[in-house]
């Protein structure tokens, strides 16, 4: 019997979302389940598209690599019978485009784009996105500084300052 209001499935997804390095072997111990069951469950989540991928969050500013990213707002004329899907799916095909989100409010699609330089990103917007049929307007906002991403803060590891009280 277990005393946890979070289901086993929810706990598995929580643990993986916070640390995708956790192996099935380790997860089996942590959740008191069979390793084979954990593997099967993860595979099913992958097949069903619940787990989309496994990433490492990198602070590129701390590396020597050139890297810029931008948020692009797009206004789109929806297509009869397809709405925004057809245009959104076409935009998804570009490697430079890291995220595509349909938004409520003053514009329709929000994109996150990555490139080596601001010029590269600006050209991509001007050459590839703006001319697309049904795209009626674009607005480009460059990211100046990252504070937090995917639940993680961009800052050095915190020192453990807890007092030794038993």
């Amino acid at each position: 019997m277990e005393n946890n209001k979070f289901s086993y499935e929810k706990r598995l997804l929580h643990l993986l979302s916070e640390d995708s390095r956790l192996t099935a072997e380790k997860l089996a111990v942590m959740l008191d389940k069979d390793e084979g069951d954990i593997k099967a469950m993860i595979e099913k989540y992958e097949q069903d598209g619940v787990i989309i991928g496994y990433r490492t969050v990198i602070d590129w500013d701390k590396t020597d690599y050139e890297y810029v990213s931008a948020l692009i707002e797009l206004k789109i004329t929806p297509q009869r019978g397809y709405g925004f899907d057809s245009v959104a799916e076409r935009i998804c095909k570009y490697d430079e485009v890291k995220s595509v989100l349909l938004m409520s409010g003053g514009f329709d699609l929000a994109l996150f784009i990555e490139g080596k330089t601001m010029r590269e990103v600006a050209y991509f917007v001007a050459d590839k996105l703006a001319p697309l049929e049904y795209v009626t307007a674009t607005a480009t906002h460059f990211v100046l500084h990252r504070y937090k991403e995917d639940g993680m803060m961009y800052r050095p590891a915190q020192k453990d300052e807890r007092g030794n009280i038993i």
Binding site: M1, N4, K5, R11, L15, L22, D160, I166
Partner: protein, 391 residues
């Protein structure tokens, strides 16, 4: 010449300083130590709770509250206790908001102890019970619990120490340092004995939210127990709020009235900022508890498996965030084991004797640390144990 040693209170002077201090002094001097010694959560207080405290400051709520605590906080404590543990207490005259669980234990003892009353303290347990009982002019009767009983208080052990002078039984479950839990059927057996006596129970339930197999059962919920029980609880462990220093007592009006008097004279009231933060925790913090518990439970299983792989026997704890492995087979005292582990691998765990003499042969390992940290410590313990085999 003024000799201050002769002027200090004899009773206070007779209290032994916590034995663990020496060990922590060595620890503090050492650099790059992987420590599993801390007795508090590694989570930061959830932001919405912190924000509620901040907001109260912004709104200028910087004054004393009523002695027993803000009435909204007491109302919400009553709701919370009913919702989570099925206990019913009247916020008007049965709840006192205190400065941490420690103050709650202190005022509970002082409210009921007369000189030479005996206080039964099951050990291993948190270090404050005996000194506070003695400061209240009582006599601490330490009752060693046994690994073979899963570190539970058994009726036989209890009966063996009850005398006509017994006034109080401390029930420290879920337990620091063993992680032992008393389930309803275990408590029934204790209640059966206590019902025939005038003994008052102080049930320290600060780890009540951190139980991994069953929902915590308070002895106060059993027939005839509510009238003779002071429940101590607080916010430190459930909501990762140790630094806010906020706890509370639940007890019948006659006992509460006495506790409020002591609290009023020595504390006045618990800090108002902490009380407003706690109000938010009580109303919207259930999900935070489950989230943190999920992590503790995962680490508990991982650390138990790690110790088993190393070849260290360990009782399976059902609560709190500690494991209490048996290290007696390594042929040294708990203190020697922990000092050598520290010196040779820069890994710190707490000797079991810090929690009573019966903790000899054991050590406490806290898993209120990140997985990476725990795994590194387990690696070091493994290396140390292997090195012992080659001696």
């Amino acid at each position: 010449m003024l000799d201050l040693n002769k002027l200090v209170s004899e009773r206070t002077a007779s209290l032994k300083p916590s034995g663990i201090r020496k060990f922590f002094d060595i620890l503090d001097e050492m650099k790059d130590v992987i420590s599993l010694t801390v007795g508090q959560p590694d989570f930061v207080t959830p932001w919405h709770i912190r924000e509620a405290g901040i907001r109260s400051l912004e709104e200028g709520k910087t004054y004393y509250t009523s002695n027993a605590g803000l009435s909204e906080v007491r109302d919400e404590i009553a709701n919370y206790q009913k919702r989570r543990f099925g206990l019913e207490y009247n916020p008007k005259d049965e709840i006192v908001v205190t400065v941490g669980g420690s103050e709650a234990i202190d005022i509970a003892l002082r409210a009921i102890i007369n000189p030479d009353d005996e206080i039964i303290i099951p050990e291993p347990s948190f270090v404050c019970y005996a000194p506070l009982a003695e400061l209240a002019s009582g006599v601490a009767i330490r009752l060693p619990l046994r690994e073979e009983d899963d570190f539970k208080l058994t009726p036989e052990l209890l009966k063996s120490v009850i005398t006509p002078k017994t006034k109080v039984l401390i029930l420290p479950f879920p337990n620091n340092p063993t992680g032992a839990v008393m389930e309803k059927e275990d408590l029934e057996k204790i209640a059966e004995i206590i019902r025939e006596t005038n003994i008052i129970i102080i049930s320290d339930e600060i780890y009540a939210e951190l139980t991994y197999n069953t929902t915590h059962c308070s002895i106060s919920s059993l027939d005839g127990m509510r009238e003779r029980t002071i429940v101590v609880n607080g916010f430190s462990k459930a909501y990762a709020m140790t630094g806010w220093r906020l706890g509370y007592t639940l007890a019948p009006p006659i006992l509460t009235k006495q506790m409020v008097k002591i609290h009023q004279y020595c504390i006045m009231c618990a800090p108002i900022t902490s009380q407003y933060a706690a109000l938010c925790a009580l109303r919207d913090g259930d999900e935070d508890i489950e989230y943190m518990k999920m992590h503790y439970d995962s680490r508990r299983r991982l650390i138990l498996k790690g110790l088993k792989d190393i070849g260290i026997d360990c009782f399976v704890p059902g609560g709190a965030f500690y494991v209490f492995p048996n290290i007696s087979k390594f042929g040294m005292s708990s203190e020697q084991f922990c000092e050598r582990l520290l010196n040779e691998t820069h890994t710190a765990i707490v000797p079991g004797t810090a929690f009573g003499n019966c903790g000899e042969g054991f050590a406490r390992i806290s898993y209120a640390y990140s997985l990476d940290h725990i795994e590194k410590a387990l690696e070091n313990i493994s290396k140390f144990v292997k090195s012992l085999k080659h001696e």
